[in-house]
């Protein structure tokens, strides 16, 4: 069973995000770039499926050269080979363009299952997985916490939590699954794993290599334009509830929640 895990790099979730002077992007200095946490669950699950069924795991990343580091991390965890789609013309591409490039890199590979994170913790769109599945003409199962591939390797059953219930969704393969927290605990790369990763194949592809027209990518081709980026709205200074004892403070709080905030 051959599996593909898609990854992107995002600012670490502890990052303080600052809006850049152009008011359309963030300040990118001093950011610690990490593999998108949801993609890490996807990589781990890909490795677990491979351990059960055999086959190969290919990690496909897109972005600037620094993304190599995250692909190496996935290789060190146990993936077999990597592809990085890297091209200056990609800078500023939207989700559909990103998915189009990923689809071009993946369509001729031999695969049964594709994993992606349920969303990037940067733009929070959650579109690339669905769009990639669409462009490859395969089904998607989104936001999944459990994956069971059938013994014959022809279908998959996934648990997808939605509001108030968990859907068990069955799909034929090939299919694309997007990973949610709770799917697994990603392993750490071992030292021998890190050493081995250095020798694993990692191929770089430009848009031209993929037979794509660079005019369809980048900032100019975005279908959704960012008019303005701002820091989150400030909240007005709050009140600290005074009181001699915790009971008094609790009483004061309950009164305010009832009379002033009118939420109780």
């Amino acid at each position: 069973m051959n599996i593909i895990a898609c990854i992107k790099q995002v600012p670490d979730t502890e990052t303080q995000i600052k809006v850049a002077p152009d008011k359309k992007s963030i300040v990118k200095d001093d950011i610690k770039w990490v593999m998108n946490p949801y993609d890490e669950f996807g990589v781990e699950e890909a490795l677990r499926v491979k351990e059960k069924f055999g086959g190969e795991v290919t990690v496909v990343g897109l972005g600037p050269k620094r993304v190599t580091e995250s692909i190496r991390t996935a290789l060190a965890m146990g993936a077999d080979k990597g592809i990085l789609i890297v091209d200056d013309a990609l800078e500023g591409s939207d989700s559909l363009a990103t998915a189009k490039a990923l689809a071009a890199a993946i369509k001729d590979l031999d695969y049964d299952l594709i994993f992606a994170g349920q969303r990037g913790v940067d733009d929070d769109l959650g579109v690339v997985g669905a769009a990639l599945a669409e462009f490859l003409g395969i089904p998607q199962i989104s936001v999944v916490v459990k994956v069971d591939v059938a013994e014959d390797g022809k279908s998959v059953r996934c648990n997808r939590p939605v509001e108030g219930e968990v859907l068990v969704i069955e799909s034929s393969l090939p299919a694309l699954v997007t990973a949610q927290k709770g799917l697994n605990e990603p392993r750490y790369a071992s030292l021998p794993g890190i050493m081995k990763a250095k020798k694993k194949p990692l191929e770089e592809k430009s848009l031209a290599d993929l037979g794509l027209d660079s005019a369809e990518f980048g900032e100019e081709a975005r279908k959704v334009k960012i008019m303005e980026m701002t820091p989150p709205p400030e909240r007005a200074a709050g009140k600290i509830i005074e009181g001699e004892t915790p009971e008094e403070k609790a009483a004061g709080l309950a009164k305010l929640l009832h009379e002033e905030a009118k939420v109780i």
Binding site: I26, D124, A133, Q140, V168, K249, L257, I264
Partner: protein, 327 residues
């Protein structure tokens, strides 16, 4: 030229879900601002009698796709039917709810139609005839205002609990139109094999009106009962910070924050949560925020409307007693 606003309704087991009323109400406001019609789109099985409800919230027309294959949501079937309707009716704006179903549907729909989309928006407006949306990014650490100039229809989903539901006008009626359903059984590759209901009866955090949340200060899973008691009393759901979830005290589904759920309740009570940036990002669109923490320097107090500096193990049980006076 593309005209009109589509609001994609969501039903489960034949019942309209709350987020639908939010987007139909918001769709009405946008349609008025554009001077165009609002069409609600309802898919399901045996659901035609629900179309009238959508009229009460502002729909001029309701397109109903009623078919046994549409009883339960699947991406394949729903996207196919809705994409056909969009191509046929050519709306300028398509709105959905940013629920689990809505996000899955709209993501694939935008790819099928080859148009851009805005997910999980917190505000929409029409400026000089142009549709714009406000979207938090980095889980709310920054906000973007976006337009859809090169893309038609303009597709977006609205974060649950954010759009105001209009007062229903039961005298309103809508033209109900049967929408064609042509689904090739062979093309449907996914099916819902089973549904495991959450028996707790608690509302999911993303849709909850009130949330009582506990962090590292809870000291262990056994202490969450004091939050449960308060939550049961005021009709709240219980959430948790990442550190509480990572410690194994609470399930992943309870996590609020950048790698958990982004929530917008009317009342968020943070107990023993210091307020790591990735937590604050996930709850800062809550309407009223209360922080209970014994550390007066905890960052959570900077986001809180009401702060109590004291031991939560004293304050929470006392608060539970005090709120009884007002219920």
């Amino acid at each position: 030229m593309a005209q009109g606003v589509f609001a994609i309704a969501e039903q489960r087991e034949g019942e309209i879900r709350k987020v639908t009323y939010e987007i139909v109400s918001e769709g009405r406001r946008l349609a008025d601002a554009l001077g165009q019609e609002l069409t609600a789109v309802l898919l399901g099985s045996g659901i035609k009698d629900k179309a009238g409800e959508l009229a009460h919230y502002g729909a001029d027309k309701v397109l109903v796709a009623d078919d046994p294959k549409l009883g339960t949501y699947t991406t394949d079937a729903y996207v196919t039917v809705i994409a056909d309707l969009v191509k046929d009716k050519d709306p300028a704006v398509v709105l959905g709810g940013a629920s689990s179903q809505g996000k899955d549907l709209i993501a694939r729909l935008s790819a099928r139609l080859g148009v851009g989309m805005g997910q999980d928006c917190t505000a929409f407006s029409v400026e000089d005839g142009k549709f714009t949306a406000v979207r938090p990014v980095y889980a709310g650490k920054a906000y973007t205002k976006v337009s859809f100039e090169n893309s038609m229809p303009q597709i977006a989903t609205a974060r649950p609990n954010v759009m105001t539901i209009s007062e229903p006008d039961t005298s309103r009626s809508a033209e109900v139109i049967d929408a064609p359903v042509s689904l090739d059984e062979g093309a449907l590759k996914t099916k819902v094999a089973d549904v495991m209901k959450d028996e707790s009866g608690k509302v999911d955090l993303t849709e909850a009106d009130k949330i009582v949340s506990g962090g590292r200060g809870m000291k262990g899973p056994e202490n969450y009962n004091i939050l449960e008691e308060l939550a049961d009393l005021i009709g709240a759901s219980v959430g948790a910070s990442r550190s509480a979830v990572d410690a194994g005290w609470r399930p992943h589904s309870d996590q609020v924050g950048q790698t958990g759920k982004v929530v917008s309740p009317n009342l968020y009570i943070a107990c023993g949560i210091s307020g790591a940036i990735q937590h604050l990002a996930g709850m800062s669109t809550s309407k009223v925020i209360v922080a209970i923490n014994k550390d007066p320097d905890a960052p959570i107090f900077q986001k809180a409307d009401y702060g109590v500096v004291a031991d939560l193990f004293d304050v929470v049980p006392a608060l539970t007693e005090e709120v009884k006076k007002y219920l």
